[in-house]
Structure formats: C-alpha cells, structure tokens
Amino acid sequence: MTSLPVHAQLNIVTTTGMIADLTKNIGGKHVKVTALMGTGVDPHLYKATQGDLRRLVKADIILYNGLNLEGKLQAIFEKMAHKKPVFAISAHIPKAELMYHDNTPDPHIWFDVALWQKAGVRILEILKTQDPTHQADYERNASAYFTQLQQLDQWVTTEVQRIPESRRILITAHDAFGYFGQAYQIKVLGLQGMSTASEFGLQDIKQLKDTIVQHRVQAVFVESSLSPRFIEAVVKGVEAEGTPLKIGGELYSDAMGLTDTPAGTYIGMVKHNVNTIVSALK
C-alpha cells in the first residue's frame, strides 16, 4: 500500500449508487467517487464493462455493500481486501440489527435510515484511517450529513404514521423493503422472494389477493429496477374480483433515480418512496 500524495483526491469506487452518495457526502471535496452499478441497474443482474476493471484497479478505496448483495463479486472483494483497501460498509452493523431469512441476512439495509447512518459511521472510520490529514473535514461533513439523516428518519416515521394503521401494508414485487417495514412499522408483503430470479407460486398470489381484499389495501407498488408486469397482473386479478386496486407509483428499491433528478440522491430517493407510499395508502 503506497501512501497518498497529500493534495490529491482519494479515488473511491463503490458498487451501488447509494454507497457512492453516502461517501460523497462524508468525503466532500477530498474524494472522487464512482459507482459501478448505474441508475436502474438491478445489482443481481449487473454486468461489468472493461472500464469497470480499470476503475477497480485505479481505485484507492473500494466500498461495497456486502451481506451477499453483490453475489459472486463479494468473494472477489474479500480476496482483494488482502492487497487493497476494500471494505464492506455493512461489516460493523451488529448482527442483532440485521434481518435474517433462514440464516441469510437481508442486504437491503439502506431502507432503514438509522441503519444506513451506521454504514455512514463505518465509511467515516475508513476515510479517517486511509486519509488522516483530512480527519477534521470528514468529521465535520459526517456530522452535518448525519443530522440530515436523523431529520429524515424522524420525517419518515411521522409520514408513515399518517397512514391509518389498518391500511399500513406495503405490497411490492420483491422483498426489498423488509428493513423499511421493521423500522417504520408498516407491514411489507412481496410477490417474489428476495432473489429477483425466483418465481412465485399460485398460493403466493392467492394469499396476496386475500390480504388485499380483506384489509382493503388501496394500492400496490412497482419498482424502478424490476419489470412491472407481475404487479400489474395482481392488480388485474384483484379488480376482476370487483375490488378496486391501483398502482400507487414507482418506488426506487435496488438503485436510485437518475443523477440530477430529485430521486438521484439517497435522501431524495427515500423522500420519493415515502411520499409515493403515503399519498397512495392514506
């Protein structure tokens, strides 16, 4: 590991756009951050380009989510960590705070803002050890951003409370919103399992339909990185039985919105999701 020139920006490569956003907010002007997975890319289906190889080779620090979000890539990152500063941002989150399905942790930690802040603390530690000269700046950026995240966390809590309790049911295409449901007390139901390749059974659809009719759920949601056809099929099925159901809008789940749009930052993405959910369900 060579020590860095004092004046140079740290070249940081991240896997998802969410991690890139978090790192930019903490690193400020001392870092140059690139995300490998672009807008609207399902991390499960990410294909690397030749340039991604170059970006990883040139990176001073590589940050990834971990908890198997990056699939087979994670094993490669773990090997690279012996030679290069490569870190899983989820590594220091206590096991008790993670959600598990059959001993496998749910990787979608960014849906709980408080948990995401813990990932931020980890990034702050990494930046401070890798680039000690700018420690004070990183501390200052982080505490300013963490204040924003705390306000966001509060805001989400109060917003979700505006939905009548009996109608607090979030139905989407795949199980990405588990942490969101746990943190903000909303019941989450998904059509697909966690893997975006698995399919769902007739029983799953029937149960989902029964829940929708029984609890008078008014809306279900499509996700930006997944095809909307499954959810559209559910809507048609429920409507055929005479219960009105609408598509409440598009949620960002595994990737953020386009850069330079409101949903192109982490905070914007969370606000977009919460506004969409609340206005459709309340």
Binding site: K47, N68, A75, G193
Partner: protein, 296 residues
C-alpha cells in the same frame, strides 16, 4: 496491463475449449446443449444447497457439473431410445430440470438469494482479482500468488479436452461421420457419445464459472458454425473453429476496451460478425465462380 493479459489468456482458453467441443456438438446437431446446461444447472445448485446447506463455490460447481452431465446424458438417451429429435430431446430435458429447480427454489429457499446468475456465473472483467494462493498456512497474505483461479481451472479443463480429442481423434471422427461403419467395426458408439457429453458438461460449467453464461453459449455455437462453413475435414474444422474463436476474443476485447462495454457481450458480438462476414465472402465467391462458368 497484467490484468488485461490474464483476462485475454483466460478468455482464449475458454474460447478454444468451447470451440473444440462445439465442433462435435454442431456435427451432432446439439448446438444448443450449452444453453440447455446453462438453465438446468439451477437444479444442480439448488440440490447441492439443500443437501449440504452451503453456498460455497466447490459445492455449487459439483452440483452443476453433475446436473450438466445428467442433462447431456438424458437428452442423448431420449434421442436414441425414445426416437425423438435431437433438438426436441434437449428442449425436454433442460426445461424439465429448470422447472424442477424453480419449484424447489419456491418451496424451500424462497427467502434467500439462490440462482445461477449470482452464484455460478462468473464475470470475465473480474477474473484478475479472484486469485489463487498456494502455501502460507491458511493465511492468504503469506502465501505465494499464482494468478487467477479461473485461469487455472479452465487451463486444466482445456488440457483435458485437448488431450482427449488428440488421443481419440480417429474414433470420434468415425463415430461423427460414419456411425454405421463405426457400428460394423464394433466400436461402442454409446460409450463415445457419453465420453463427448462428459467433455461438454465439464467444459461448459468450468467456462460458466470463469466468464458467465452468454459468452459460453456463443462460443460453443458460433466459431464451430463458421468453421463448418469453410472446412472440408474434421481436422480442418477443429483448426478453423479455434482460429475463429481466438479472432473473436481479440476483436471483442479491443471493442470492449474502446467502447467501455461489457467484455463477454463484445466477444459474442465479434464472433457473430465474423460468421456473417464468412457467409458474405462465401456468397460473393459463389457468385463469381458462377459468373466465370457462365462466361466460359
């Protein structure tokens, strides 16, 4: 730079191994065997996971090779014993296996991420980072690094394929072109079919692990098809298939570098373009000889 060399070396070996077995698949009208195996491995990894409760790579690879073999063997048996067409038999077996895999996933493993896309299929761009280390007594940092794991596994598979074909060339030739003669000579054709299918399954799964599915399916079919158009003997076809596959890798990697695009897709596209070019040149030649004949 060293990274580019490792990627090119691995891609070249994958391409060569796939081109060699691809030639026999094309001749036996089983070109889509690779595609079939790319689907049926789902059953292999699900079963391996359910039995061992582990998602470790060696376990997954083992399950995949076994199911790949079973796919190749079963579709071959269905063709020979059930008298169904080759393409139909392949279609029946791999969809059945894939469907059983999907049912098992939704029954037992719905909550965890288990699919061939994220567990088995490798990413060619990251080959240089997934290195093998020997020695060091469990501590990887102390060991001696000998290069990418994918390179060594595909190198071994390539050597096995090459040596097998060299040793058994005449037998394979007789079985491929003169099955009746082979039978009358007392050659056990069934054995040679299975022998070939074992090579196919091993090559495909090792290549999936190294470079991902799409490139493997393309490399099994396209270079061998181009070779089929130009070659006049089995030996010629094997050589031209290798030449086509290596050219595709070279052009494809250059394209990927220039365009910053996915490497495996660029190599596949190059292989396709070479095939089109071959057809075009052959057509022009045909027209020209036709015109010459007319003129004389």
């Amino acid at each position: 730079m060293i990274n580019d060399i490792w990627i090119l070396a691995t891609a070249s070996l994958v391409a060569a191994a796939c081109a060699l077995v691809g030639v026999f698949l094309i001749l036996r009208r089983q070109a889509l065997m690779g595609d079939a195996i790319s689907h049926s491995v789902l059953l292999g990894i699900v079963l391996a996971y359910l039995i061992t409760d582990s998602r470790a790579l060696p376990v997954m690879l083992g399950g995949a090779v076994l199911i790949g073999l079973l796919t190749a063997w079963l579709s071959d048996s269905l063709h020979r014993i059930g008298k169904l067409q080759n393409d139909a038999s392949i279609g029946i077996v791999f969809t059945l296996f894939f469907a059983i895999g999907v049912i098992l996933v939704s029954l037992y493993t719905g909550q965890i991420d288990l699919d061939q896309e994220c567990i088995l299929y490798g990413e060619i761009a990251f080959i240089p980072f997934d290195t093998l280390t020997i020695g060091g007594g469990g501590n990887i940092a102390d060991g001696f690094e000998i290069g990418p794991r994918a390179f060594w596994s595909i190198a071994i598979v390539f050597m096995i394929v090459l040596i097998s074909i060299l040793i058994t060339f005449h037998r394979l030739q007789t079985v491929a072109f003169h099955p009746n003669l082979a039978l009358s000579l007392g050659i056990n054709t069934v054995f040679w079919h299975y022998f070939l299918m074992t090579l196919v399954s091993m090559t495909t799964v090792a290549s999936f692990d190294a470079v991902g599915a799409i490139l493997v399916v393309a490399l099994l079919v396209i270079p061998a098809s181009s070779a089929y158009l130009v070659a006049k003997s089995l030996k010629g076809m094997l050589w031209s298939a290798i030449a086509y596959s290596q050219t595709s890798v070279a052009i494809g990697y250059t394209l990927a570098y220039q365009l910053d695009s996915a490497i495996s897709a660029s190599i596949s596209v190059s292989a396709g373009l070479l095939l089109l070019l071959t057809i075009l040149i052959l057509e022009i030649q045909k027209k020209r000889t036709h015109n010459l004949q007319k003129a004389s």
